[in-house]
């Protein structure tokens, strides 16, 4: 399927569009590094992230503690790695939940329409009327603190955006001839929605999802920063930032390092999604100039000739 999405503007051999632009590559490398370091945190960590060594409380960077220790004497470097797990797993949970709820709802609204559409869209309007974090506060206040509850709360808050997007895309696709053709071939509405309409919307949805992933990291960290997310002693970037801020003058690394990691992951995801959009969007192909293209083709052909 990817071949068809991309292939409509680029053929395999003489590809116009370059996927690996510098910004795309850099953002990808940063994000993959963060994912790998967090996923294999036990391998890369030097200490148990939750072990208190009170004698080294607020210690600065040293050979044994690369980034120093927090107020409870826990190794900052190891906690940043483990905190990445919390952030990434949490963000995946948020986006996963919004996919599971948002895409089916959006397809039903867009394709079936009618009363279901009206009801679901009005419900979305209600949710969208509240600021994201405020609504998440409401959930936390009602159901209590904890990473699971924050993830579910943010997941639900993220649903309306995805529902709206999917709905608008589905409406566009619904009016194309191939959908009427599918109806006249006797396919069920469910099949048409999932096998025909959804794949044709997926490139835009994919971009939105990578963007959402970045925002989810940010929002989860915000909740934890305010003390509404994770419960101690779980390592989390937002919580670490919140706690470290109290000792900014004693050990600035405690707040700046988690903050920097949050920024890096969100920015790299944003750039990544922007590059993805440019690559998948048919109307925004960045074509090389004719001379550039011709010389590139020449270069491609030369090695083949010498080989033959």
């Amino acid at each position: 399927m990817l071949k068809a999405i991309i292939g409509q503007k680029t053929s395999k051999k003489n590809s116009y569009g370059k996927l690996l632009t510098p910004s795309f590559a850099i953002s990808l490398v940063i994000f993959i590094a963060i994912v790998v370091l967090s996923a294999f945190a036990p391998v890369f960590a030097t200490h148990d992230p939750n072990k208190n060594e009170l004698q080294s409380s607020l210690a600065g960077p040293s050979k044994s503690h690369w980034l120093g220790c927090d107020v409870n004497g826990r190794d900052l470097y190891s906690r940043v790695l483990y905190g990445g797990r919390t952030a990434l797993m949490g963000a995946l949970g948020v986006v996963g939940l919004s996919i599971v709820l948002g895409i089916p709802l959006g397809l039903v609204c867009g394709y079936v329409g009618g009363l279901a559409d009206t009801l679901i869209m009005r419900l979305c309007d209600v949710i969208l009327a509240f600021p994201t974090l405020l609504l998440a506060f409401l959930f936390v206040a009602t159901f209590g603190r904890g990473i699971t509850i924050s993830v579910v709360a943010l997941g639900i808050v993220y649903v309306p955006m995805l529902t709206r997007l999917t709905r608008s895309l589905a409406i566009v696709e619904k009016n194309k001839t191939y959908v009427s053709a599918a109806i006249s071939l006797g396919y069920s509405p469910l099949r048409i929605m999932y096998r025909h309409i959804l794949p044709n919307c997926i490139s835009t949805i994919l971009v939105q999802l990578t963007l959402d992933l970045g925002y989810a990291i940010l929002d989860l960290s915000s909740l934890s920063f305010l003390g509404l997310g994770v419960i101690e002693p779980t390592a989390d970037w937002g919580a670490m930032l919140g706690q470290g801020r109290l000792y900014l003058l004693v050990n600035p690394y405690l707040s700046t390092v988690p903050g920097a990691v949050i920024v890096l992951s969100v920015v790299s995801l944003n750039i990544f999604s922007d590059c993805l959009r440019q690559y998948l969007d048919h109307t925004q192909v960045q074509l090389p100039s004719f001379e550039e293209y011709a010389s590139r083709l020449e270069k491609q052909q030369k090695p083949q000739e010498s080989g033959a």
Binding site: A4, Q8, S180, S184, G186, N200
Partner: protein, 325 residues
Amino acid sequence: MIDMENLLEINGLTVELMTERGIVYALSGVDLNVAHGQIHGVVGESGCGKSMTAKSIMRLHNPKRSRMGGTILFEGEDIAAMEIKEVERLRGKDISMIFQDPAMSLNPLMSVGNQIAEMARVHLKSSKAEARQIALGMLEKVGLSPAINRYRQYPFELSGGMQQRVMIAIAIACSPKLLIADEPTTALDATIQAQILELIQSLSDEMGMSVLFITHNFGIVAEICSAVSVMYQGRVVETGYTRSVLDNPAHPYTAALIASIPTMALESQKRLGSIPGRPDTLYENLSYCPFCARCPQAFGQCRNERPGYQYLEDGHRAACFGIGG
């Protein structure tokens, strides 16, 4: 018509559509019969109701915005009166349709093989492997070979003619009894047109499949259709065997249409015939002959009464007061 064994019998079909400017009487009494194994042409100018008739057979109108009357008997069962669930069972399996623009009618993100296989999966409940075999067979059948390579290709990798072949393969994958071809060659150039026509004809012969062939081209009708119905303003004005209609057009509209076919003959240096005026809008349900304003032979009765069918020899009939009068 003549054959009592009709696969499809449309009697007095009316379709009214709701629009912002009022009710459009899109079809006002269509009578049309398609015999088993017959290729039946439907001819007429734009907006005369050809595609509307096809859509009605498939029940593709929005039931909330339209009203249907009359009967559409398919193998003796009235499609017009069916529950939509029952119609869905007919669609694709017993009645299939191919459209004017193949590039728009194929799912752009599914390999063509999978699109054919999907028909078998849905309607014949075949396994993945069986469906694949059926799809490969169909690709060969419509002349796309080597089928193995074509199977994996996407619509954008094929030419218009090949795309239409794929559409046909999808439509006939479940051996439908009736194929509705809605101007299947209009978007194709002349040489490809001929190939597609030949393909449809040979498939019809081979599978005993009836075809309702919608076109505005009398040349195509003469080539592949054994019977033809001429439509004007939402009505069938003349119907009969192709030879008899082409040689002895009874309705003035048919005669005028035939006169406006360009010929290659060098001696005919005269101007191409055309029909003066243009069709009325369909915002009222006319109680007179819709063609009378453009008809050279129109007389008093034509402007006051709606003509019924006058029967000629061999099932040939036309709705005109001028016949035999």
